[in-house]
């Protein structure tokens, strides 16, 4: 069996080229691959496109905002491109206001479905979300069974950086509680999936095959979060 276990986050992020598209899950502060994002920050790849629910927070923690603040990101796909409160001037907001970064604002469910479409070879799909709003302007509409839908396309990525709770050596992943969020669909959508793992990486065969959230065939690299890693 191919060895998927990497000894460091830096090794797992070493080959990310300038211009890559990366997905970064997380919602409400949990399930964020902070160690891998920190490694990608150290690695220094530039002109990245990020796919993430938000564009970074104002806390001191590592998230996509860390890469944005460092100027590594040229474009974000996100469900929030303005802060929920005007007082929250994140690095993204400053750069966005100065046209130093591009962004596409995507309704969260549409974003999840566009990621899932990439993960499932769907060419495009019709969703009712955003119909009748500014965000649907210029998009193709279609009435189906008396309801109007808008056409949306997949969001593909080169890398998914995910944060798992448990894994086995084959790459099977499990998540815990709300830390699941975007993790499974991003892990299944990207070309190369790298997981940081909170619990011990157990030998293949020790996880119940009925209780796996991401099959190991989708996962390329695993890094155990060390005691001195970023845990929160």
């Amino acid at each position: 069996m191919k060895n998927k276990i990497y000894q460091s986050f830096d090794a797992a992020m070493a080959d990310v080229a300038d211009g890559s598209v990366f997905m970064s899950p997380g919602f409400g502060g949990v399930g964020i691959p902070r160690n891998l994002l920190a490694a990608l920050h150290r690695q220094g790849a530039r002109d990245l496109t990020g796919v993430s629910n938000n564009t970074g927070t104002l806390d001191e923690k590592v998230d996509v905002g860390t890469l944005i603040a460092a100027g590594q990101v040229k474009k974000m796909y996100a469900a929030f491109t303005a802060p929920t409160h005007p007082s929250q001037v994140t690095p993204f907001v400053q750069m966005y206001n100065n046209d130093e970064i591009d962004a596409e604002l995507v309704p969260q469910g549409t974003m999840a479905e566009r990621i899932r479409a990439a993960a499932s070879g769907i060419g495009a799909f019709y969703t009712p979300a955003s119909v009748g709003t500014e965000l649907a302007e210029g998009k193709e509409h279609r009435e189906i069974n008396g309801r109007t839908y808008v056409l949306e396309y997949p969001i593909h990525a080169d890398y998914a950086l995910v944060r798992a709770w448990r894994a086995d050596t084959f790459g099977n992943l499990q998540f815990r509680m709300a830390a699941r969020n975007f993790n499974p669909i991003m892990a299944m959508a990207a070309r190369i999936t790298v997981a940081e793992v909170e619990e011990e990486i157990v030998p293949a065969g020790e996880l119940d095959p009925d209780k796996i959230h991401v099959p190991g065939v989708y996962v390329d690299r695993l890094v155990q979060i060390p005691p001195d890693g970023i845990w929160d």
Partner: protein, 225 residues
């Protein structure tokens, strides 16, 4: 002047909306004020609280020191598990929303219009917007309830003939609680159902751009019993 009278508290507004929740409903509460709806508990009703991050069936906020660090609601607050809770991923969570299984979503808003439009994601003078799951929820939930202050900080009405801001979804709002009362959105426009104590229909109309329908059975605002 009408505007000097005491207004309803946020918790009272959210209590009132929560009184409309029916047994077995799946309820999605937006970040901010709407989360207060979960503080109103009717023991005769079983509600399922759904959070767009895939938590189906969460309970009250976790007591300090008893937080499960992996278990948060849409606002990132640590909530508790209730028996029967299930977790799904984000795509499955919005699958549930788009299928129309959410009976009600309660959201904040900048503006609501008498045709049921509302706006809560973008102020054109600022670049970008904050949608989160609001467009998916607004387009697909069976009902949309709005909890908001009746006027802006500058005293301008938020209950309008037509929204001035970019809307979140067209024609979806069914019920609005403001600090001045409870309003139903009807095909004819806003119907004032309940007024804040001390506020007359005329007082409220004065702070409302849209023409209010004042029913014969207008009631005083109902507070938690």
């Amino acid at each position: 002047m009408a505007t000097d009278k005491p207004r309803l508290q946020r918790q009272a507004m959210c209590d009132r909306l929560a009184m409309e929740f029916q047994d077995e409903w799946i309820v999605n509460l937006g970040v901010g004020m709407p989360t207060l709806c979960s503080n109103y508990v009717d023991p005769d009703k079983d509600l399922v609280f759904h959070s767009e991050n895939g938590v189906i069936g969460y309970g009250p906020l976790a007591p300090a020191g008893e937080e499960d660090p992996h278990l948060v609601n849409a606002g990132g607050q640590n909530v508790t598990a209730v028996p029967g809770m299930a977790i799904v991923h984000h795509a499955d969570s919005f699958a549930l929303i788009r299928k129309g299984m959410v009976d009600v979503t309660v959201m904040g808003a900048y503006e609501v219009a008498e045709n049921g439009d509302f706006a809560n994601w973008r102020i054109p003078t600022r670049k970008g917007g904050g949608i989160g799951g609001a467009m998916d929820l607004a387009a697909c939930a069976k009902q949309v309830f709005i909890a908001m202050e009746h006027c802006t900080r500058e005293g301008q009405p938020r209950m309008l003939k037509r929204c001035a801001l970019p809307i979140t979804a067209p024609g979806v709002v069914t019920l609005v609680a403001t600090d001045l009362g409870l309003f139903r959105v009807t095909p004819q426009g806003f119907e004032l159902r309940e007024h804040a104590p001390g506020w007359s229909a005329a007082d409220i109309q004065e702070l409302t751009e849209a023409q209010l329908i004042i029913p014969e059975d207008l009631q005083e605002f109902r507070f938690r019993g």
